[in-house]
């Protein structure tokens, strides 16, 4: 056939077919997305520290393991309160003359998704310790350690940010671990990763493939609530307070035998969970985990009951109604402020 025996015609045809399809499925949709999507009204240009932190995130190839996309499927609900939208990425443009745009959506989730990590894990102390060596706070972690973002100083200055690293992880170096500016940039970037809230009149898009709620066939309601509490603890509290409830000396306080956990001051207890705590010098500040994660009274109850009955703790269980009352009181206090 003429077409097949003439190299010009053959290769031109193949090229045109390929370029045409490329235009159809790649370039034209890309251009349309770029033109039609605008950032959400609540979105703000990132600050200088955050930009530097993002550059470090890119340079160290963190995207190899961490995605930044909440898919519109129920299983991704743990990573954000709503699915990511095109508008979430619309504000990201070319990094510089040498480097391309970095939406950092990622294709592997060897580590957790980071879309909303600024809400989920905002603690400065935790993040710095975790960057120095993740296995200090999460024993099973396979994340690389980033000690080159820190220096060791014999006598740190007052303005230095000292990181409380247990001796076992210091590999016999003497002195205090001090965060370099790079570590603080990276921290600023991680803390800045929060889902932008949608405009008030906009409906939040739903998640597909909802999980079927399990029937109570497998166990009594009380047992289920406890199991739920363990899962919630593992997902939200364990990173700092550890699975054995003993915390990390000098960084995160123990919950095992804690007077707050075992005591009767439910208002203080719920207040700490919902709104954070920074009353004790020797420990890092606790972020408002409950508010960030939008805990319901049932979830708070499950966590409290898990903490009160685990390890060697043996305090009485609380009911969701009690907690609801306490939460309402707290909410009123905040509102009156």
């Amino acid at each position: 056939m003429e077409l097949f025996d003439n190299h010009k015609k053959l290769f031109t045809t193949a090229t045109l077919l390929f370029v045409g399809l490329t235009w159809l499925v790649a370039i034209s949709p890309a251009i349309r997305n770029q033109q039609n999507n605008k950032p959400l009204p609540a979105w703000k240009e990132p600050e200088q520290d955050v930009v530097k932190g993002k550059a470090l995130f890119i340079a160290n190839g963190c995207v190899a393991c961490h995605t930044q996309q909440v898919r519109n499927v129920e299983m991704d609900k743990v990573w954000g309160s709503r699915p990511s939208l095109a508008a979430d990425y619309a504000g990201i443009s070319r990094t510089d003359f040498w480097r391309n745009t970095a939406t950092l959506m990622g294709t592997e989730r060897t580590g957790p998704d980071l879309t909303d990590v600024g809400n989920r894990q905002p603690s400065k102390d935790w993040n710095l310790v975790h960057l120095y060596n993740p296995r200090i706070v999460v024993k099973e972690s396979v994340m690389p350690a980033y000690p080159w973002l820190f220096t060791i100083k014999k006598e740190p200055l007052e303005k230095d940010v000292v990181v409380n690293v247990p001796e076992a992880f210091l590999s016999k170096k003497e002195g205090k671990v001090v965060a370099k500016p790079e570590a603080l940039y990276l921290l600023a970037y991680l803390q800045s990763l929060k889902q932008t809230s949608l405009p008030e009149n906009k409906a939040v898009p739903g998640f597909l493939y909802p999980q079927q709620k399990k029937n109570a066939a497998g166990g009594s309601p009380a047992e289920e609530a406890l199991a739920d509490g363990q899962t919630l603890y593992a997902a939200n509290c364990q990173a700092c307070h550890q699975a054995n409830g003993e915390g990390l000396p000098g960084a995160f306080p123990p919950l095992k035998g804690s007077p707050v956990v075992e005591g009767d001051n439910l208002e203080l207890y719920v207040d700490i969970i919902m709104n954070g705590y920074d009353a004790r010098q020797e420990y890092g500040a606790m972020p408002p985990v409950g508010t960030n994660m939008q805990f319901t009274e049932k979830e708070v109850t499950a966590i409290i009951n898990y903490e009160r009955s685990s390890w060697s703790n043996g305090a009485k269980n609380v009911t969701a109604e009690d907690i609801k009352k306490v939460m309402d009181v707290l909410q009123q206090k905040i509102n009156t402020k």
Binding site: F4, H7, L10, A14, T15, L17, F18, V19, L21, T22, V25, A26, I27, P29, A30, I31, N33, Q34, I58, N60, G61, C62, V63, A64, Q69, N72, V78, S84, L85, A86, D88, Y89, A90, I92, S93, R94, T95, R99, N100, T101, A102, T103, L104, M105, G106, T107, E108, P134, E140, V142, P144, A145, P147, L208, Y209, Q211, T231, A234, A235, Q238
Partner: protein, 719 residues
């Protein structure tokens, strides 16, 4: 008979694949209908397994009836007649022994017991196997198209296992028959024992004399010693112990331009170096999953080394090897000299420079923004692009001056691959459509076209030349090759965004990608059929060739790996597998199983032709088996663990549970990776043996030289 069996296998494949694909299409149409009730799908699976078992059972039944018949025959026949018959069938040696026995009246039939024991053990082992194989698992997951397809793909090796089982059972039956024969033998022995001596002596001696008659073997040749005056015979004096089966030697090809040979070898040697480097890095990165604190050096941290590994094996190893082989094929099938040798060398320098600079910059923390395989910044990737452009011009000019009318199909694939890759790179690096989600859409397109339009298309082109050449017969169907070519362009171009299913990119684009992924079944099945049918009538060549096993492994992975890609693209399978280690397993099954095995096959074909030297068979075999077994150890645990992890995520379990779950599978991956890495050392050694001329003293040559030297030294006698 052989082709009939082949067709029945094809039909089994078809029966197995379509019920999986059809429900998946149905699912596409009802997007929100997740709980697609698909009892039919797993019914099909069960049907498949049952039908295989049925076939096995039927074959077994036939064997057993055969056995029973022969047993009955033995019982019914008149014993004395049959035994007498045996006397006429003894050979000379047997008669001699018998006569001796008759003299000494001793008997020894002890070894019968050992036969019996062996037969018994074999039988018991086999029944155990049959029970294991027949159990099947069921769960609600089996309703999902993608999972069904994957299961079927896993079933292919299991089917091979069934065939092996059949052979084993056949052996056992044979043992049983032998046992019966031994019984007959003992009867015969008894019969012979009871015969009167004088009578039997006379008969036997006469028979022996008749049997011992032979010609002198000198009737035609006379008694003069043979002389090979034309040097036609070559006799190996000491064959030695056969540790590896002796394969056919590569045939030296005349008239390969030495300059072209140097160029091709240049590419292949560089490629080998990048393979060693890239997989050493990959191996180290794999170890970091098991030992995350192996080092604390920023240049060696996981996030930086991972792209170093992928880019080095992509652009360094596979690309250079492919282009190098292309430089051999294009002039050969065009029947003309290469347009420009110098451009070939420049392209090699450019690509090497690109990978070297890219590696250093990635380790230093300079990268393009994290899109996979797009990590090199544009000035570095530009060097690679220029190398491709030079290669394209070189190939096109050569083809334009070809001495043949038609353009052989290899050239379609290879030249198109280069054109497309230049288009892909331009689309990926031109900044005008890269903001916001534009970057993601382009990334999906780029990373998949890079794999499918560069590596796959180019490698298929190479295989279309080397496979028929190694089998010494034309490709089965040229038209199938053409069909595969155009459908590959049509469907493969569409599938890029299947890496971002459920993300914020437009839903219609995701659906197009999924449909395109299903469409990929056409070129894959066309290609696989074409290659396998080319083997038809030449299967016997596999056993005495060292390149064909590599081709065969490549073809099998081409089918299973590519179809797995289709299965992975469906929406449900995306839920379970996306973001898990399953993806890593898949990319190794394809890039390693398909591309690397094909490339090795072609390298082992071509290098001995260029240099006239071959690698030792034992290291070649070690390369093949370590690579194959290593790949299996690498990918199967990751697929299994990845599925478990995905299911855990779907149940909403804490993230760390998935990490602890993967620990043993990551260890297996490191073990498999080590085997693969070891195989590359063997490959590099083989390359060395094939290329480097060794300074070995040839005894005869040295003796002659010595004599000549002495002749020159001694002064001529004065007359």
């Amino acid at each position: 008979m052989k082709s009939k069996a082949f067709f029945s296998v094809i039909i089994l494949f078809a029966v197995a694949v379509w019920p999986g694909v059809l429900p998946a299409y149905a699912q596409e149409m009802k997007l929100s209908d997740f709980s697609f009730a698909s009892e039919s799908a797993w019914l099909w699976i069960v049907l498949l397994i049952v039908s295989v078992l049925f076939v096995v059972a039927m074959l077994l039944r036939r064997k057993v009836t055969e056995l029973r018949k022969s047993y009955q025959n033995q019982k019914q026949e008149d014993d004395s007649d049959k035994l007498k018959e045996h006397i006429d069938r003894f050979n000379s040696q047997q008669i001699e022994k018998l006569l001796q026995y008759k003299k000494t009246k001793r008997s020894g039939v002890l070894f019968q017991v050992s036969w019996l024991l062996l037969a018994f053990t074999l039988f018991s082992v086999n029944t155990g196997w049959a029970q294991d194989a027949s159990t099947t698992g069921e769960s609600s997951l089996l309703g999902e198209g993608g999972i069904v397809i994957t299961l079927v793909l896993v079933l292919i090796p299991i089917l091979a296992g069934f065939i092996l089982l059949m052979i084993k059972i056949g052996n056992a039956i044979n043992q049983q028959k032998n046992k019966m024969r031994l019984e007959e033998a003992s009867k015969l022995a008894g019969y012979l024992k009871d015969l009167p001596d004088e009578e039997i002596d006379a008969v036997l001696k006469k028979r022996k004399k008749a049997l011992d008659y032979a010609l002198t073997n000198h009737e035609l040749s006379g008694t003069e010693p043979a002389e090979d005056s034309k040097g036609l015979l070559s006799i190996t004096r000491e064959p030695g112990l056969p540790i590896v089966s002796v394969k056919k030697k590569a045939l030296p090809r005349p008239n390969i331009d030495p300059a072209l040979a140097r160029l091709v070898l240049g590419y292949l040697v560089c490629a080998t170096c990048w393979l060693l480097f890239g997989t050493t890095v990959g191996q180290y990165v794999g170890i970091k999953f098991v030992a995350p604190d192996a080092d604390h050096v920023s240049w060696l941290s996981f996030g930086r080394l991972r792209p170093v590994h992928t880019n080095a094996v992509f652009w360094g190893w596979a690309s250079l090897a492919m282009i190098g082989l292309g430089y051999y094929i294009v002039p050969r099938v065009s029947n003309i000299k290469l347009y420009s040798m110098r451009m070939g060398w420049y392209a090699l320098y450019l690509i090497n420079a690109s990978v070297l600079l890219g590696t250093i910059s990635l380790m230093a923390g300079i990268n393009n923004g994290g899109g996979e395989y797009r990590e090199y910044i544009w000035p570095i990737m530009l060097l690679f692009g220029l190398g491709l452009a030079l290669t394209l011009i070189n190939f096109l000019r050569t083809i334009a001056r070809r001495a043949t009318t038609e353009i052989y199909i290899s050239n379609w694939y290879m030249v198109s691959a280069i054109i497309f890759t230049i288009v892909i790179s331009l689309a990926a690096y031109i900044p005008y459509w890269q903001n916001g989600l534009g970057e993601t859409i382009i990334q999906g397109y780029y990373m998949h076209q890079g794999v499918g339009m560069w590596f796959m298309l180019f490698t298929l082109g190479i295989v279309y030349y080397f496979l028929p050449q190694q089998l010494n017969k034309p490709i089965y169907s040229y038209s199938l090759g053409i069909l595969a070519f155009w459908t590959q362009i049509l469907f493969y171009t569409l599938i890029g965004t299947h890496h971002f299913v459920f993300s914020a990119i437009p839903w219609w684009l995701q659906t197009v990608a999924i449909v395109g992924s299903a469409g990929m079944a056409i070129p894959v099945i066309a290609g696989t059929t074409n290659f396998l049918m080319t083997f038809k009538g030449a299967w016997y060549k596999v056993k005495d060739s060292y390149t064909l096993p590599f081709f065969l492994a490549g073809i099998i992975f081409y089918f299973t790996g590519s179809m797995q890609g289709t299965a992975e693209a469906f929406r449900f399978t995306n839920l379970a597998w996306h973001f898990t280690d399953f993806t890593v397993a898949h990319s190794h099954l394809t890039m390693y199983g398909i591309i690397c095995f094909f490339l090795w096959a072609c390298v082992y074909t071509i290098v001995p032709r260029l240099t006239g030297r071959e690698a030792p068979q034992i290291t070649m075999g070690a390369h093949f088996w370590l690579a194959l077994i290593g790949l299996m150890f690498y990918s199967i645990p990751l697929m299994y663990g990845g599925t478990l992890k995905g299911l855990l995520w779907m149940q909403g379990k804490p993230f760390m549970e998935g990490v602890t779950l993967m620990a043993p599978y990551w260890l297996w991956r490191a073990i498999g990776g080590s085997l693969m890495w070891l195989s590359h050392l063997f490959f590099a050694y083989n390359m060395y043996k094939m290329i480097v001329r060794r300074n070995v003293v040839d005894v005869r040559e040295a003796a002659i030289q010595k004599l000549q030297y002495e002749m020159e030294e001694t002064p001529e006698p004065v007359v």
